[in-house]
Subunit: 166 residues, 2 copies
DNA sequence: GCTGAAATTTTCGTCCT
DNA sequence: AGGACGAAAATTTCAGC
């Protein structure tokens, strides 16, 4: 309810960065351990994490599930070229209704969408493409199937060592 | 250290699926709550999760960090066309050395790699591209900058309702 | 897989820097 | 304001059934 400052303390310092990096790697460790790793007491570490959550820097605590173990070994990237999507605006909902789509990004002016799709087989991938055509005025689609994933990792936490220029 | 059966119980049943879905949404809830949500006691729920971790179905417990809050608002997808990468094989390491790369996938025969890159600015994106050219025999690159992310979500947990065909 | 109890951890109040 | 310390509450974890 203050009025002087819009953002009281929206800065992320080195300790926050260390905490975020540690939690990205393993969010199950107790606060005492986490605190020791970043040079804080358990209570202080807890307070930092609470604030990071409150500020929205930490969106959620989740588990990383092995897609192959779940029976979804086929990963693909699909590019959609549609007619007039930006106007419709419930595009996101239509895409979200297809559970095989993990990510949906608008990548160009009006009409180009990039999708990350995970399916059990190429047959199911075909099923997704059919559903995509049924969604709206989809002009063309271009599908790229991933043969091998070299690596996947969370957002990099930049450290403020000063030398980290371009 | 057993020798009779290679995979004692590698199947994922409905309860496991319910647990995985719940944990994807929020992995901070106590086991008592989780158990109640899936119709199990706290102890049984804990045992299920322990086994899922042991089997590798649950790879890790992590936090979802807001990239924009971290100063990395620019998301791009970069396609690389290189000469002979598959033979070299330390390609993954060279790419992993570039922290801005979040994902690296091989998407075609010999030489095409798809990268998911997150940077602070388009200038930093340019810096990444320069480093990519320096890596190896990179013939061409094609970069697509994401204008808006409609949604991102974890791997879908299929439910065995029987009606879920293609 | 369930119940119950011990051990650990989280969480909160208070004081200190 | 932010962190340390200690105690209460909650949770995890392990026993036996």
């Amino acid at each position: 309810m203050s009025s002087s400052t819009a953002s009281p303390d929206n800065r992320i310092d080195d300790v926050d960065r260390a905490i975020l990096a540690a939690l990205q790697h393993d969010a199950t460790r107790p606060y005492a351990e986490l605190g020791k790793a970043v040079g804080l007491s358990a209570g202080a570490a807890h307070e930092r994490v609470r604030k990071l959550r409150e500020r929205g820097v930490v969106r959620a605590t989740t588990i990383d599930v092995d897609a192959a173990a779940l029976g979804k070994p086929v990963l693909s990237f699909v590019t959609l070229d549609a007619a007039d999507w930006m106007g419709g605006s419930d595009t996101a909902e239509a895409l979200a209704a297809i559970p095989e789509i993990e990510e949906a990004h608008i990548v160009a002016g009006s009409g180009t969408v990039l999708l990350k799709v995970r399916t059990a087989s190429t047959q199911e991938l075909q099923s997704v493409l059919k559903r995509l055509y049924a969604v709206d005025t989809v002009a063309t689609t271009h599908t790229t199937v991933v043969l091998e994933t070299l690596f996947t990792r969370p957002v990099a936490i930049a450290d403020r060592t000063g030398s980290g220029g371009h």
